[in-house]
């Protein structure tokens, strides 16, 4: 019934808005839209590509005023405002109905279901994610006799060795703040574990808690001896790649998207490597950062029937496999295979398959205001470690305001 009504006025036009303005994501969507149209000859896709940064503003407008039928976004707390404002469609039926997809979706994407669930319902379909960890210069490690560190002591010792050799141990560009949250998240996940990360980002623990202090104690061990790149506050994450490419810096705590620009700048599999962020508190199960990209149906969409077909299409193992081959990222559907011959993806897949749990990222798990103040605080701390107490007290004040 519904299908008939909607197809009379909008016969088979599916409007898709995405923020895939970067080369690889754009190519990936070009590919899947073409494939979707081939499989569904009755549907014509109208695809609007927004600038990646501008999209964050535009989506708030178009969901209300000119809603497409499908829009991409991110999992976790990032979609909470839209869900709460009733702008995203509940798509729990896609997750439940195994008849629509090849096999049971809830089972095939079990590890991602939690980050798509708000209030017991699912609000979109995840199609890609990627790992975070430490990217490093293999040749610099070899030249200084360092092996890949698996414990915190080894990691700090490696930093000391590199620093003594005149190499910046860890590069970082914190101009846009979020890179600092990657470091914080990993220190927190390794010191206190995944549950504490979620408690903190959900506002259940004060920032002045001794466990948070413990995270900064570890951070001190890196910041105080100057193991991070100087002037990081003036650099974007891309600009901070330069010292690593030039061999002036050895490591970067980053997401897998850093591999492409590093390789473009001349690094190869032979001198660029990846390792899991080392263990800090022994015995704490290793959780990882794995931000997930998703597709949603706006609740004001005109052609929800075809939008659902598109979401189901996006959840399929073969489709996710193809998208992620182009993106150079990891598929969510566990029946998809991963691009062969990419050591970074292989390492990431292996790591995430064995992960105890997956955090989205500080700024996706925590509400926007807390995230913004938190990351500002992290950046200030990295430039002035002696202000730690003042910063934590300020963040605690913000926490009490944000989570009322």
């Amino acid at each position: 019934m519904f299908g008939i009504i909607s197809s009379t006025s909008f016969a088979g036009t599916l409007v898709i808005n995405t923020d895939t303005s970067d080369a690889a994501p754009k190519e990936a969507f070009e590919y899947i839209i073409k494939k979707f149209e081939e499989e569904n000859p009755d549907v014509t896709v109208k695809w609007n590509v927004f600038d990646h940064e501008g999209y964050k503003q535009s989506i708030r407008n178009f969901l209300n005023t000119d809603p497409p039928d499908v829009a991409n976004w991110y999992a976790g707390n990032r979609m909470l405002p839209f869900v709460r404002a009733g702008l995203f469609e509940d798509v729990s039926d896609i997750w439940k109905d195994s008849g629509w997809v090849d096999g049971n979706l809830s089972e095939n994407m079990e590890h991602a279901k939690k980050s798509m669930t708000i209030g017991g319902k699912q609000w979109g379909i995840p199609y890609t994610y990627y790992q975070w960890g430490v990217y490093y210069r293999k040749d610099l490690f070899t030249a200084n006799g360092i092996s890949v560190p698996t414990t915190w002591d080894d990691f700090v010792a490696a930093c000391a060795t590199l620093k003594a050799a005149g190499i910046t141990p860890i590069t970082i560009g914190s101009k846009y703040l979020w890179t600092t949250a990657g470091v914080f998240d990993y220190l927190n996940l390794r010191t206190n574990g995944y549950e504490f990360h979620m408690d903190l980002t959900l506002g259940k623990v004060p920032y002045t808690d001794p466990k948070v202090q413990a995270v900064f104690d570890k951070w001190d061990e890196l910041v105080k001896p100057g193991y991070f790149l100087e002037n990081h506050a003036a650099l974007s994450w891309q600009e901070a790649l330069t010292p690593m490419v030039n061999g002036e810096a050895a490591m970067y705590v980053m997401g897998n998207f850093a591999v492409a620009p590093l390789k473009e700048a001349g690094l190869r599999d032979s001198n660029l490597g990846f390792f899991q962020f080392p263990e800090i508190t022994p015995g704490i199960p290793m959780a990882e950062e794995a931000p997930t990209d998703t597709v949603h149906i706006p609740s004001k969409a005109k052609n929800k029937t075809d939008a659902k077909r598109f979401l189901i299409f996006m959840s399929r193992a073969d489709v996710q496999e193809e998208i992620n081959k182009i993106l150079g990222q990891l598929p969510i559907n566990k029946n998809s295979s991963v691009k062969k011959g990419d050591p970074f993806l292989a390492a990431g897949l292996n790591m995430l398959n064995n992960a105890y749990a997956m955090a989205q990222f500080y700024d996706r798990d925590a509400p926007a205001q807390m995230a913004s103040e938190g990351m500002k605080g992290f950046q200030e701390y990295m430039s002035n470690p002696d202000r730690r107490q003042k910063i934590l007290e300020r963040l605690e004040k913000v926490r009490q305001k944000v989570y009322k």
Binding site: L177, A233, A368, S383
Partner: protein, 306 residues
Amino acid sequence: MELNNSKPKRITWWQKNQVKISPWIFLAPGLIFFSIYVIAPIFVSIGISFYQWDGLSPSTYVGLQNYIELLDDEYFYISLWNNVKWLIFFMLAVPIGLGLAIFLNQIVFGIRLIKSLFFFPFVISQVVIGLIFTWFYQPNYGVIAPFLDLIGLEGFSILANEDTATYGIIFAGLYPQIAYCLILYLTGLNNINPEQIEAGRMDGAKGFHLFWNIVLPQLRHATFLAIVVTVIGALRSFDMVAIMTQGGPYGYSNVLAYYMFEQALSEYGYRMGYGSAIATVLFTIMMFYILFFIYRMYRNEREDNN
């Protein structure tokens, strides 16, 4: 015929009031758009500042909560203080612009070309200037890096240091602002009465005296205008901050205009009420200044008419 003439012509209401009404008709389009796009938003914005609203969900009335929070907000004071720095140091554009204008106010071959070159920075978009100065300041790679090395500040980053970031941005902002003041003074200098200068010379005025007592008073209007545009420029210093530091490091180069944007409209913001409260404070500061400006203008016009 004579009888016809003696009969008084009926004067319509329109004919009677034409002179009074027609200016309003001509003003109407401007007034309507000014009210819709300038006046009304001011009141709407002040209204929003009493609410908590993310721009999507329904808003809740919170009274003065946003303002109370503002009083306890460290970043707000940092931004306010930076606005003061902007007001003070941005003023340098006025004397520098005047100096350059006097320097360029001579008749030499090709002076028109040189004048237009000096005016050039004003034509370039603020965004481009911000971007280029960011590259200039780039530690180790930037144009000024060798000079910083000379004074022992190797690898120093102006924009990453909380003490220098604001000055770095103001300096970049001065670049087009000086050109603006320059052009104001150049036009002012064109209108100087040569007879007065001659008279002054005959009375023995020279050099600085001549400039201070005879030239500068005649540039009064240009000076006034230059100060006005510079103050407004300083208070709305948004684009430079957005391009060069985004308020960083950790909010230390923020100004009220950008902080408002950050809270209300940036990626992590969407606190419309709080942003509006900041806007209201900024508006109040500007209002003091604008009222003073209108009063001055009113007084000047009366003086000129007398």
